[in-house]
Symmetry: C2
Subunit: 218 residues, 2 copies
């Protein structure tokens, strides 16, 4: 999926009435209408995850998105609104990548494998999204709506691990502990991949997943 398509949550038909001629002669010919918002969000993701919220200026975002600084304020009321929109977009995208169409008939062993695989693919395809979400998850500029979104995501996993505990498949430990340990391990391994400290191979991912299974199995 092209990165330009990512943020088209709502149908973009209204912005798509330009013909080929107009498309080619615009100052920023490579960007069509709705693409501007996406370009801004993409640029913000890169900069916020590299430099943090306060370390990123609106001018930097504008420059990387190849738009004027004022244009950002046509799409977002202010910098806070932008970071919250970005956070919510990626939180939803990540939740979807995990939970959408999750087969219900998988064995617990296969379930963990599937989850690990989804997580792995998500952070390979969106290398900046994970560090952005991690980096900003407790930030003071997040609105309540952003925070609640994060909690809802967590709850789905707690239910899952609670069930596996009742069925005596995992160790008799609180699901919160399983969640904290597994997600921590995953994030740790993923960071090592991204830092180049570890080679991202299918074999390595299988090893890591196997180790996590050993950690939680009864």
């Amino acid at each position: 999926m092209d990165t330009r398509e990512k943020f088209l949550d709502k149908g973009g038909a209204a912005g798509r009435i330009m013909n080929e001629y107009s498309f080619r002669t615009r100052a920023h010919a490579h960007l069509r209408d709705m693409d501007r918002k996406e370009a801004i969000l993409d640029a913000a993701l890169e900069l916020f995850s590299e430099r943090g919220f306060h370390g990123t200026t609106v001018a930097m975002i504008a420059e990387r998105a190849d738009v004027g600084a004022g244009t950002i304020y046509r799409y977002f009321t202010d910098k806070d609104d932008l970071v919250n929109a970005l956070f919510q977009h990626w939180k939803k995208t990540m939740a979807g990548a995990f939970l959408a169409d999750l087969p219900t008939d998988l064995s617990p062993r296969r379930l963990l494998r599937e989850l690990w695989h989804r997580f792995s693919r998500f952070s390979r395809d969106n290398p900046l999204a994970l560090s952005f979400l991690e980096f900003h998850c407790h930030a003071s500029y997040l609105t309540d709506a952003s925070r609640e979104l994060a909690d809802g995501f967590r709850d789905r996993f707690l239910e899952m691990f609670e069930r596996l505990r009742r069925e005596q498949i995992t160790k008799d430990v609180p699901p919160e502990l399983v969640f904290a340990l597994i997600t921590g391990a995953f994030v740790g391994v993923e960071k090592a991949f991204q830092a180049g400290e570890l080679d991202r191979t299918a074999e390595m991912e299988a090893l890591a997943e196997e180790m996590c299974w050993e950690a939680i199995r009864r």
Copy 2:
């Protein structure tokens, strides 16, 4: 240990020559000379770990440390110097907490338990230090000296896990993977403790440690 004592790396005798009278009549009577530097570093730790480097102003640090803004520049050349001093101090302190007087005759199982326990105690005693180090470890304002310190710490662990692998005690996986997974898991559990999502009890810590052992044991 009082937090005021933490930063007295070098003997603080020179700063301790005031008598009781002068102590009581100073503008900020509760602070003695060298304590100012420590108060600044303590305040900076709190603020940097809560709000990040760019989200913290020098005025905030001065206010929380109960000193004038200009005073900070008597002890540090600039804000970058301050954050680097803080990073290096805590990196060294953490490395010390892990590696100092580590018994050489422990069984691998006991070694992991000891390391987990040390890590656990360190982050219980210094709840802000871990998130500060995590939060800033790849920041652009860190000097090379700060970065090298972080690497040296990691290398000690890699050697340890390499040995355990050769001795066929842990799984036949790269030590970098073991390191990434174990530290990730620890940080995940520790964050959950700090966020109040998990009760910090001796039992819970023992469970978490047990799970990590299962993850890495052959």
